[in-house]
Symmetry: C2
Amino acid sequence: MEKLFVVKVGGAVLEDENTLNDFLQRFADLNENKILIHGGGRSATQLSTRLGIETKMVDGRRITDEDTITIVTMVYGGLINKKTVAILQSKGCNALGLTGADMNLVTAIKRPVKDIDYGFVGDVVKVDNTAISLLVRSGFVPVIAPLTHDKKGQLLNTNADTMASSIATAMVNQFDVSLVYCFEKAGVLSDPENELSVISELNKNDYQQYLASGTIHSGMIPKLDNSFNALGLGVKNVIITNANSLNTKNGTHLSL
Amino acid sequence: MEKLFVVKVGGAVLEDENTLNDFLQRFADLNENKILIHGGGRSATQLSTRLGIETKMVDGRRITDEDTITIVTMVYGGLINKKTVAILQSKGCNALGLTGADMNLVTAIKRPVKDIDYGFVGDVVKVDNTAISLLVRSGFVPVIAPLTHDKKGQLLNTNADTMASSIATAMVNQFDVSLVYCFEKAGVLSDPENELSVISELNKNDYQQYLASGTIHSGMIPKLDNSFNALGLGVKNVIITNANSLNTKNGTHLSL
């Protein structure tokens, strides 16, 4: 089967023009079928502040009221997505920017209210792998913002890590899929204070032990849960690495 | 040849939720190959005001400084484009939202500074009809925001009427193209104060006379110049009509 790289970029990488440009050069140079998924939470928070709208987070997840879905639609679907596409086009990479609503790529349901009302937050229901395949096989590079829709006209805010693992797992019958999470750290660290302490190989058993000892905690947990889930569903490789290390052997390589 | 409708919607239609919804229902019901191009200037002005950024217009054209290109990228490329796509998807229309940067659809050059520096405003250089054809023939409905790029990484603000006529004329070798401008008025009026005074048929000779008498003036002139230009370049029909009259015989029908 042909290879497909599903690359997620987030965090501080999107905030600094030079870092983003270097990353996008590496991504453009990756000579395989590929899809880019981006976050953008920090920019959304900045715009909210400028507009005098309070940002509410619970366990690292953004409470998405009506004003906030408007802001993330502008920031994720517009600003970050289109700037990324324009930069990739300048590097000869034939990108097109999409959300889950475009081509009905990713449908979701509004998260049911239990203890917390997350507002317009979407949990992924279905990824349309046919439309994504058509684009990829036609030589285009989808750049996907973390927005989904409910098929009833409502856009929903969806976690970009989850979006990436959902898309990666939806493609496993058509491609040999690698999922690469790129961010500002060197990988999964055994000492969060030491960038040299990268765990280069991490299997599910070791992961449980790191969890029990508290070595791996907070924001890394959902990313790793998504990753092991993707491996279980047929994704061939999952790598968590620095944005500067895309297309190198660096970072943390996961296995079941 | 197969038919293709290139529909432009702008002005007050985009501002009112019910009017927009009715228009998008009519557009979804149009049972032909189709492309939608939208404006969004009023929303961009509103966001600029909320952010304390002054809006400068010269002859109805927006001076697009660095803050303003950020705003129009968020509003045109994000908010209006993605909301429109989500609504169309809810009506069973398989839309995808794009700018001229996506798939390298529309390249432009930054308008040279003569008397006025328009800033990041793009004049269309080339439309990639191959990519648009691929989407349309695959059953997708492109929804295009009035943003282009210079292929060097810079997004540019481009007049939506011009974007529509450029795209329409680029498709004439592959499709039998109709270009429909939809807005809040009933068509080209012989008396601007009277919505019943629609000029139902307008040829180029009559247009010159209406221009000379001052009956047709200001914002209608570039729209009509674009329209007659498109007819000259092989577009079969150009219609200027109310958003509620899409897919009816109403409005102003142009001929050379």
